[in-house]
Amino acid sequence: MELIRPGTTFDFIGKKKFTVWVSAIALAISLGSIFFVNGLKYGVDFAGGILIQVRFSQPVDISEVRNAMETMGSKDAMVQKFGGENEFLIRVEKIEDDLEALSKKIQTFLQERFKGKELEIRRVEVVGPKVGKDLKRKALWAVSLSFAAILIFVAWRFKQVSYGLGGIAALVHDIIVTYGAISIAGLEYSLPLMAVILTIIGFSINDTIVIFDRVRENIKKLRKEDLETVFNISINETLGRTILTSGTVMMVVLILFFFGGPVIHDFAFTLIIGLISGTYSTIYIASPVVLFWNKHFTRKKKR
């Protein structure tokens, strides 16, 4: 079976004058939303605070839970419906010292208040502010170092810095766009979403390397063509694979999105955005960066 007929030549790279604007606008919207408009809503994992997930065996309205929290004197508690029937998330973003005691107080109070409704405490997370900060700092550090390693390895394998830079530029683009989507959709940035970001990094660099590899091979074959044409041919030659791979992964993620339940829902949404961005960035970020670099910074030495 053939998805893409051999010899197909879409002019991908030729559209780069247009897509530069697409990328620029996507990045601007993302950064704008993260830093100026919506911000990034950190969950308990990163911001510190208390999260309690409760389920009642009998119908309870959300306002009853809110009322209970107010009566208790916890005005800054947020209550939201979660997943199944009569299930709620209670969140307190307090950065005071004795969160543990507060969490205990809330639990005993709720147990008492909803005595007849068989309250089940399904999940409790109490994270001190220091822990969240540590996690953020260490994750950032780990990701930065892994980027540096990718840069060096790719530059070495392809014998040119530009390929490393192109790959990293694509990664940075994907991360910004994904965080932008998280911010715009108002999702809470928590541990599972951090795992998604890591997954997207892996997927995106994989995608980029596949095309770079074909470029490396074609440079030797098509000596007369300029680099731009070689990139375009390479992207076309690997187009079948790109569509198949991204398509299969997308299919899986869509299933997770629709059937995975509330815990997976945000996770899958973020992954969808990241996948689209990761596939796009290979063609329209990584490749143009290499081309730009070769045009302006590499001494012309015709082999």
Binding site: R122, V124, I209, T245, I255, G261
Partner: protein, 532 residues
């Protein structure tokens, strides 16, 4: 050529069998004991986010251990100087590791005591206040301070381990994280609050005399007599739930601590049918207790736990035999937990809970069930799609994917890794990359066939070319994963572990095992057309 193929088949089958054996304990729970002697494996542990349980991170406040260490030195110094007849004025601990001392008399004499018996304290400064009166500031040796801190943390770890063992939790995990944090994982625990109280409590048991001469009312107004302190007895009214606090004026000096305990058990008071905790001291403790009670007959001796007065009975007579009891309004559970913490000993320094996550067992099961269902659906769809699109080659790819999952599970079992939610994300990514590897190979072979190559040549060339790409992309991702593992924490690491294992399994299954199948088709079956 066929011989070569046969040998490869034998090796691949052996590796697969081994992986299945490693993974077996995870699927079948009642394997005979000899199995584990032959196969060095365990079942794959699920993270607490998947199976339910509690995750705690405690920070040991090691400075407090330094404080009480310096405090003890100060008390000894006071006694020593008095014994030698050296007049002492002010003698106090300052900050956490300094002692300020005002002393008079012969300079050589007290200097000798300081340098001979208190070499762990350095003289920071000595100033002359008046003629014949000096103010000396001593500071704890920094190496000694580090040692005290380290001991405190080690001991805290040990004590907590003891307490949890006695509490009875299956497969607890208690490890040191960084320098002063203790990570505790208690799978499947039902009552997290109770466990927290048990683990987090300092459980410092002290015996102090009640200050009978001092005036309690005056003291409550702020005029606390020198050498005395006020502590409270807290009692919860079972009807209203209100807390009543009764003040006690006590001598500051601690006569005895829980260090000399040999045993602590729950017993029932036959008269009131109320549980209490019976204490038994070791030999030193028994002797000490006899001395203390003998010297203070008709006085009140307060039993204090973590600065809470539990009771302050009047000593009727000298008590020999080394037994005492703690009474209070306990229920059986409370008394039992108290006995556990007393038996396991006090924490050398208080601990602070900086992170607690507990997942109820039902929620863990929910996420597993939903995760498994959606994983199965998606795996089935991907497999069907591969067969639909690549026919025979698709079947080969699907078998490789199944083997990939078996290998990863086997590796997780032998490395005793824990599978968490981020770990599953890493697994999914590695499976995505495995699918990608198969697609790369198939597309490449198709391309080579299109160029008019023979089936054998197309397979050779297709694998050779695609292998370069797969290696480059997988190794790049692997390097990134290794860095994430090295420099990341908890969840980041969980992701990196499954991803790394997945990538290595991927190169093996997608490149080598499928290659065998293609070679088999081309060389042995000698197909005329490759179904790809």
């Amino acid at each position: 050529m066929w011989r070569n193929l046969k040998w490869r088949l034998v090796i691949y089958l052996a590796v697969t069998l081994f992986a299945i054996l490693l993974f077996l304990p995870t699927v079948i729970s009642d394997l005979p004991p000899w199995f584990f002697k032959v196969i060095p494996t365990e079942k794959v542990h699920l993270g607490l986010d998947l199976q339910g349980g509690m995750h705690l991170i405690l920070e040991v406040e090691a400075e407090k251990a330094v404080e009480s260490y310096v405090e003890r030195i100060k008390n000894n110094l006071k006694d020593d100087l008095r014994d030698q007849g050296i007049p002492v004025g002010r003698l106090e601990r300052e900050k956490r590791n300094q002692i300020v001392l005002e002393v008079s008399g012969e300079k050589g004499k007290w200097e000798k005591i300081l340098s001979q018996r208190y070499s762990m304290m350095h003289e920071l400064s000595t100033t002359t206040l008046d003629k014949g009166i000096w103010r000396v500031t001593l500071v704890l040796d920094s190496r000694q301070e580090d040692q005290v801190k380290k001991n405190a943390i080690d001991q805290a770890l040990e004590t907590i381990r003891n307490r949890i063992d006695q509490f009875g939790v299956a497969e607890p995990e208690i490890t040191l994280q960084g320098t002063d944090r203790i990570l505790i994982q208690l799978p499947g625990i039902k009552d997290p609050q109770r466990a927290i109280e048990l683990i987090g409590r300092t459980a410092l048991l002290e015996f102090k005399l009640v200050d009978e001469e001092g005036n309690l009312e005056e003291a409550l107004k702020g005029n606390i007599p020198e050498g005395s302190i006020i502590l409270y007895q807290r009692s919860v009214d079972p009807k209203t739930g209100g807390i009543k606090k009764i003040p006690f004026l006590l001598k500051e000096k601690t006569l005895m601590t829980g260090e000399v305990l040999k045993d602590a058990r729950v017993a029932i008071d036959t008269q009131f049918n109320e549980p209490y905790v019976a204490l038994e001291f070791d030999d030193i403790g028994a002797k000490l207790f006899e001395q203390i009670t003998g010297a203070n007959v008709k006085k009140r001796l307060a039993i204090i736990l973590d600065d809470n007065v539990y009771s302050a009975p009047v000593i009727q007579e000298r008590i020999a035999g080394g037994r005492a009891q703690i009474t209070g309004r306990f229920d059986m559970k409370e008394a039992g937990d108290l006995a556990i913490v007393l038996r396991a000993g006090a924490l050398p320094a208080p601990v602070k809970i900086i992170e607690q996550r507990s997942v109820g067992p039902s929620l863990g099961q929910d996420s597993i069930r939903k995760g498994i269902i959606s994983t199965l659906i998606s795996a089935a769809l991907v497999a069907l799609f591969m067969i639909f699109y690549y026919r025979t080659a698709g079947v080969i790819a699907d078998i490789a994917l199944i083997l990939n999952i078996i290998f990863v599970m086997g590796a997780l079992a032998i490395f005793r890794a824990t599978l968490t939610l981020p770990g599953i994300a890493g697994l999914v990514l590695s499976i995505g990359m495995a699918v990608d590897a198969n697609i790369l190979i198939h597309e490449r072979i198709k391309e080579e066939l299109r160029w008019g190559k023979t089936i054998r040549a197309a397979i050779d060339e297709g694998y050779r070319r695609a292998f370069m790409t797969i290696l480059d992309s997988n190794v790049t991702t692997l390097i990134a994963a290794l860095f994430l593992y090295q420099f990341g924490t908890g969840p980041v690491r969980g992701f990196a572990v499954t991803l790394s294992i997945g990538i290595i399994a991927n190169i093996f299954t997608a490149v080598y095992i499928t290659r065998w199948a293609f070679d088999f088709l081309a060389l042995k079956v000698k197909v005329k057309r490759l179904s790809i």
